[in-house]
């Protein structure tokens, strides 16, 4: 159990920085808008979505209607619809924790699960749960800390939010190395850039995700071929190495 916890903690550390920064920023905004720390605390527990919580502050101060808030939330978080697809089987094995794993699947938790490589001695299910729980707690505490002490922080932490971007880049690179085919990554990149330049920064993500899904379904046979070819190449490479070794001996 200890081993799983230590491993989970290590996997979670890279996300501490963006969580602390965004959580504190949210707490400070809530405090400045006149909401007591309890509200930041509740938001951290039950919403647990960084960018949406920050949008919420402006919706609250603007006195937006519940309908507007619902639609806004849906569009800000709609990318999450695509996240669960990869983890349906994984989470189903979690028993009573199944619903908790689903509702806490943030961008950051998702990216950890995307690139995690479990050593033999850890319990996969426990590790997944610990990662989720540790990060949820870090998030709640960050929101609370921002509301209570945010004004007292003497350092200007602006820019530390880049750590989330940096973390996502490392996940992309690890995936790039572990996948036989780069078709999915290239599809994502091209559709993201294309829609970014056509639709602009605030509207590109959903079309980019949707088109990627469609393209990947269309190229499925090509992907299966790539898989086979790579397996074949590995086999061939293995054989040539053996042949070379043999020839060196002579």
């Amino acid at each position: 159990m200890m081993k799983s916890f230590v491993f989970a903690f290590k996997q979670a550390i890279p996300v501490f920085f963006p969580y602390l920064f965004i959580g504190i920023a949210f707490g400070v905004l809530m405090d400045e808008a006149g909401y007591t720390a309890g509200w930041s605390f509740l938001s951290g527990i039950f919403i647990y979505a960084g960018s949406m919580q920050i949008v919420l502050v402006s919706l609250l101060t603007a006195g937006a209607s519940l309908g507007t808030i619902a639609v806004m939330t849906f569009f800000v978080n709609a990318r999450h619809i695509f996240y669960g697809i990869a983890f349906i089987e994984k989470f189903k094995k979690m028993g009573r924790k199944y619903p908790y794993m689903i509702v806490t699947l943030t961008d950051e938790v998702y990216s950890i699960f995307c690139s995690i490589d479990y050593p033999d001695e850890v319990d996969v299910r426990k590790t997944d749960f610990y990662i989720t729980l540790i990060l949820h707690l870090v998030w709640i505490l960050s929101c609370l800390a921002g509301a209570l002490f945010g004004q007292l922080i003497p350092y200007d932490l602006a820019g530390i939010e880049f750590s989330a971007t940096a973390f996502f880049i490392t996940v992309c690179m690890n995936q790039w190395q572990s996948m036989d085919s780069h078709l999915p990554a290239i599809t994502g990149l091209i559709s993201a850039l294309a829609f970014y330049f056509i639709l602009g920064p605030s509207q590109f993500i959903l079309p980019a995700l949707a088109v990627s899904v469609l393209v990947l379904i269309v190229v499925r046979s090509r992907w299966l071929n790539d898989q086979k070819k790579n397996r074949g190449l590995e086999l061939e490479a293995g054989l040539t190495e053996q042949a070379e070794e043999i020839s060196y001996e002579y």
């Binding site: 890279p14 909401y35 919403i47 979505a49 949406m52 919420l56 006195g63 937006a64 519940l66 808030i69 619902a70 939330t73 849906f74 978080n77 990318r79 999450h80 619809i81 695509f82 996240y83 669960g84 697809i85 990869a86 349906i88 089987e89 989470f91 689903i102 509702v103 699947l105 961008d107 998702y110 990216s111 995307c114 602006a158 820019g159 530390i160 880049f162 971007t165 940096a166 973390f167 996502f168 490392t170 992309c172 690179m173 995936q175 996948m179 999915p184 990554a185 599809t187 994502g188 990149l189 559709s191 993201a192 970014y196 920064p201 590109f204 993500i205 995700l209 990627s212 990947l216 379904i217």
Partner: protein, 114 residues
Amino acid sequence: MSINWINTLEALLVVALVTILTRSLPFLFFGGKKELPDTISYLGTVLPAAIMIILVVFCLRNIGLTAYPFGLPELLSVAVVIIVHRLRKNVFLSISAGTGLYMVLTRTLFMTGC
């Protein structure tokens, strides 16, 4: 400023519920089935690589490419993350190097306003 706590609570609940809905949708559709449809389990394998790259672009979406500093602090820091990660394969080091550079660049060479 006085705050109507019932309105606030309602707003908070709506945001929480809609967020939960977006995260639950794939599980609501496919979680009940004994076996995943082929296409969905295929998407589960290939989609993460596409999504992560889209997420990186999403994080960088607000950089202004057309006006000074032309997104240079972000793009240079991204380059450093890639190079450091390529060389050392240490997630923590890559993040620290990139974020450190970003914080220095935005405070010195590419300081804007404020």
